[in-house]
Amino acid sequence: MTGNSNSNGGDNSNQNERFSHLIETLGLNLFQKIQKAKILVVGAGGIGCELLKNLILSGFINIEIIDLDTIDLSNLNRQFLFRKHHIGMSKSKIAREAVLKYNPSANIVAHHGDIKSQEFGPQYFKQFDLVMNALDNLSARRHVNRVCLSADVPLVESGTAGYLGQLTVIKKGDTECFECVPTEAPKQFAVCTIRSNPSAPIHCIVWAKMLFGRLFGVADDSNAVTDMDDNIVEGTEEQNNIVRDLQLAVEKDKGYGQWVYHKVFYTDIDRLARMKEMWKEKKPPQPRLLADIDQELDNNTAEHINTAQLKDQKVWGFKENVRVFLETLAQLKQRFEKDGALSWDKDDDMALNFVVSASNIRSHIFGITTKSKFDVKSMAGNIIPAIATTNAVIGGLIVMNAINIIDGRLKDCKSIFLIEQPSNKRMLLVSEIPKPNTACYVCQKNFITIKLNTNTVKVGQLIHDILKKHLAFSLPMLTVGNDLLYESGDEDLSKEEIRARDALEQKVLSSYRMGDNVILAVEDYLQDFKVSILINHVESFGTEEENKKKEHEKWFEIVGTATAAAPFQTQPIQSITTTATAYNAVTDIDDLEIIEPTPTTPTPTTTTTTTTTTTSGKKRKEIESAPGSEDSDGSKKQKYETIE
């Protein structure tokens, strides 16, 4: 116990008087269970704020909070524990301070860290009586699900989207787990991520689409991607310390292309870069003057890209992106003046080129991997709104279920779905929590089959696209029989090791012992999760003719997970009658799922999952005998802070 400073002799009777409402309604016995219970809250955002407040005022004392995020202006319309002067600070720390006032003798520990880091493995989870997920990203939710199953700690899972919300309880063996019904890959992003703090290519792509709408679409006040004439880069009127980018007016005089380029890739970036709070843990973005670019050589990756690749699969160099950007900008401007407002269409080559080039320039500025036209075309996104009212309802329901669990009444817990308009006189759809899906590869079977062409699919594709993206592994380790084939780790790698790993990832599966009918064991020690995968070789899926018509050629199939339900947007409310469908209905608000390993440009706000590989038996042995010895410079990055 910490923080007893406020207690005095008479505090106990005051405590009881203060909680008289609780004691009378819940009974002293349950109240005492609550005071003994140890709770972990994962996420201190919209729902997290509600949870911490409700927990403290429901008599809970022992609470830990984990959140990686810092506070952003767009959080303040619902994350009521934060104020404007907290912008840029750790959510978990500020949330802790805010609720501690209500019970100074409470024992609250705040972690500013990543739930997926080694610090928070199954051993850490085992100390809690209950875990509450207040997360807005899918891969972290799947991760926590696995760790809770492993540690056998009950989990209250929840999510909100606009007026809609849902929650359920997950208990190993008794209930469905988060992955018993697979969720669609999410495509939604937080607006602050898009506007100020991108960390993945998709964030820049969504931004570029917004810019397109802003410049050439129907006037839309809610599109606040940039204000073309605003040249303020620092300060406020009240404080009388405004700094302006006077170059903007100069560029505007030069022409439309120069003006837009300068505004979005210089003025706006400069303004962001000056927000020092935001860049404490990562490199600030680099504003780029158009005049400087001509001087530079195009030192992009283009050279070492296989020339046999399709033209659209090539990643353009920086200068190429700038050239295309200025060119399409001029063309689109002409069309806009002639035909009026345009709507973005991925099949409209000019519009697509605009988004490809604009997003790539932005990615470059923020140190994010740039993407090929082919890839950009398939990526798109919307923003899911979040409001206080829904969070309040869901937060209340979560703590209600939590009290049931603490009281040993798991059977009284329910799956609940909140809908925007009462239908059939109901606003909350309540149902029993389903039993585990016997086919679930996470909580039941631990066995799946993957069909793919073992002669064309590369190791890297298996690791990143299938194991990490589709099956939510954080740090997969691959073995066949007794042999370790591939190991992940978060230590910094030497250049040679990166090169070795890159080379291995380029190998096709059949040339690396993963041919037809091989049973592959995939283990993630962070999640304490292990699955056996039977590899089935297939030449192709469907005829070439069929594949040509589809936008994405299907290149693998996972057998042994239930089929994914329809995505949220297309789901009519009336059809949400079972938890199975309701469960899929809430998509992510802010998904920061990074699929590409980015060992050369780590971004600390996201999971920097660098991957270590072994190519020889000798090396493999070293790793097995001394895990962690890969730490080449001996220094580990401090990723989290703990306040006691």
Binding site: S58, G396, M400, M427, I573
Partner: protein, 517 residues
């Protein structure tokens, strides 16, 4: 100008217009309980214009245990002032006022105090004062929301004589495409398209709207001028439509099939809208008519001369080459603009006939774009509910086992109990046992008054309520605060349809029910 960066998320839900309405509203809270402050919290965060807290209580130790908007150091101070100050910290754009006065005193001695609020949210106000307040607000068309957080039970009641909604935002609105009854410009554009001249590649890029109109027309020419109506005819039409497809995978044809049943529906003005058009206020507008009813009246004239509502003008995304899509989009847009301008002039002439002020063109436009989604909700006043409740609903609900209606009855009986004994049943621990029979007889008297069998309310529920002794749990108040503030936002923004009229949340089994009592 609103703070669009801070409010970004919510602007995507209710738009600039909803936000502007919210920022104009002034909400009055009677009693700064946990339920009251949690509700206000969810209204101050998204930025209502102002709030006023009326409360004569001092901050007590029990407030510290359930109310997030009091602090230990404020023990003994005015609860109105304390919660007002802490709520204001949530959002510097919102004005907060406190009145250290007993709401009951204001109701009985200075009722006009309430006349300038946009909405009054009352909790823990004794029955007689509440009825007085309700009557006054009802007369002034000010919404009254009553809330209660009582042990594990939450209660919400909304009352306003007439609530008008332009944007009811239904879950899955149908697109306003008029394929079955194309307007002149759409029909002409369709006729201009020569499908026979297209190669199969080009044919797969024709928007399905054109295809449908063309093939329905062709179908009609061989079916006595009738569109497919019966199920068999629709099946046959589907085959006919698909037979025109150059290949089985053509996406535009597939879209046509997906939407076929919807677009083959005969055009019809919904019964809700029809009811509005026939409303006395639409039929006979007067100089007293408000903007909404003047516009409904103008809409009535529009429908009388055209047989259809003004076209919305939006075209959803569909499979097509960019050029034809933009062309089609333009046809819908222009017709939408033409209908709007005709509707606007109908409004203008009605306005000048009645000698009223002009209605802003933005409002007329919004109304015109949403004519399919208009809605008016008329609520009972509290006095009417207490005198003539919907007993058939009450009885049929009570007859079902474990129905939440029982808590509505219990809370009403508790109000009666309070009127008689000026305390809540079981409020003093030592009186729990002796209060239960008193609550039972209050309940039976209430049921008898409305000729409802007293067997329908089991004693165990009353015992449970007595055990609560009017305790308020923070967690339940927080949850109810979420639900109540959501309804208040609907009422203030005039978007979505607020619930009518009573809502009970049961925290024992996490169920919630809405009743029209």
């Amino acid at each position: 100008m609103t703070d669009s960066e801070k409010y970004d998320r919510q602007l995507r839900l209710w738009g600039e217009d909803g936000q502007a309405k919210l920022e104009k509203s002034h909400i009055c809270l009677l009693n700064g309980t946990a339920l009251g402050t949690e509700t206000l919290k969810n209204l101050v965060l998204p930025g209502i214009g102002a709030f006023t807290v009326v409360d004569s209580h001092k901050v007590a130790e029990s407030d510290l245990g359930n109310n997030f908007f009091v602090e230990k150091k404020t023990l003994g101070q005015s609860r109105a002032r304390v919660v007002c100050e802490l709520l204001r910290e949530l959002n510097d754009r919102v004005k907060g006022f406190s009145v250290e006065e007993d709401p009951v005193y204001l109701i009985n001695n200075n009722i006009s105090f309430f006349k300038d609020f946009s909405l009054v949210f009352a909790n823990r106000i004794p029955e007689t004062a509440l009825v007085t307040l309700s009557a006054y607000l009802y007369e002034n068309n000010i919404p009254l929301v009553v809330g209660n957080s009582y042990g594990y039970i939450g209660y919400l009641r909304v009352s306003v004589p007439e609530h008008q909604i332009i944007e009811s935002k239904p879950d899955n609105p149908m697109d306003d495409l008029r394929i079955i009854n194309p307007f002149k410009e759409l029909d002409e554009a369709t006729q201009k398209i020569e499908l026979t001249g297209l190669n199969s590649q080009e044919l797969t890029h024709v928007p399905y709207v054109y295809l449908m109109i063309k093939f329905i027309k062709e179908w009609k020419s061989t079916h006595d001028g009738k569109a497919p109506e019966t199920r068999a005819e629709k099946e046959e039409f589907k085959k006919f439509f698909l037979s025109k497809s150059p290949n089985p995978d053509a996406e535009n044809f597939a879209e046509g099939i997906t939407n076929m049943l919807k677009v083959l529906q005969p055009y019809r003005i919904s019964s809700d809208i029809d009811k509005l058009l026939k409303d006395e206020k639409a039929v006979n507008p007067t100089e007293q008519s408000d903007d909404f009813w003047i516009m409904v009246s103008a809409l009535k004239s529009f429908v009388e001369s055209h047989g259809v509502l003004p076209l919305n003008g939006n075209l959803p995304d569909m499979h097509a080459d960019t050029c034809s899509f933009i062309q089609l989009q333009k046809i819908y847009q222009e017709k939408g603009i033409a209908d709007l301008s005709e509707f606007s002039s109908l409004v203008d002439s009605l306005v000048s006939k009645l000698g009223k002020d002009q209605i802003s063109s933005d409002l007329v436009k919004k109304f015109c774009k949403n004519t399919r989604f208009l809605n008016v909700v008329r609520y009972k006043s509290l006095a009417e509910e207490y005198e003539k409740p919907n007993t058939s609903v009450i009885i049929s609900e009570l007859e079902q086992p474990d129905n939440n209606m029982v808590y509505y009855i219990a809370l009403r009986a508790i109000d009666k109990f309070f009127s008689t004994y000026t305390r809540y049943p079981g409020f003093h621990d030592e009186e729990v046992d002796s209060d239960l029979p008193l609550l039972k007889s209050a309940t039976h008297a209430l049921l008898q008054e409305h000729s409802i069998s007293s067997d329908l309310v089991k004693d165990e529920y009353l015992a449970e309520m007595t055990r609560y002794g009017a305790c308020e749990l923070h967690n339940l108040s927080s949850l109810m605060g979420g639900i109540i503030s959501q309804e208040i936002i609907k009422l203030m923004t005039h978007q979505y349809v607020p619930l009518n009229n009573t809502f009970i949340f049961n925290g024992i089994n996490s169920t919630a029910t809405q009743f029209t009592i």
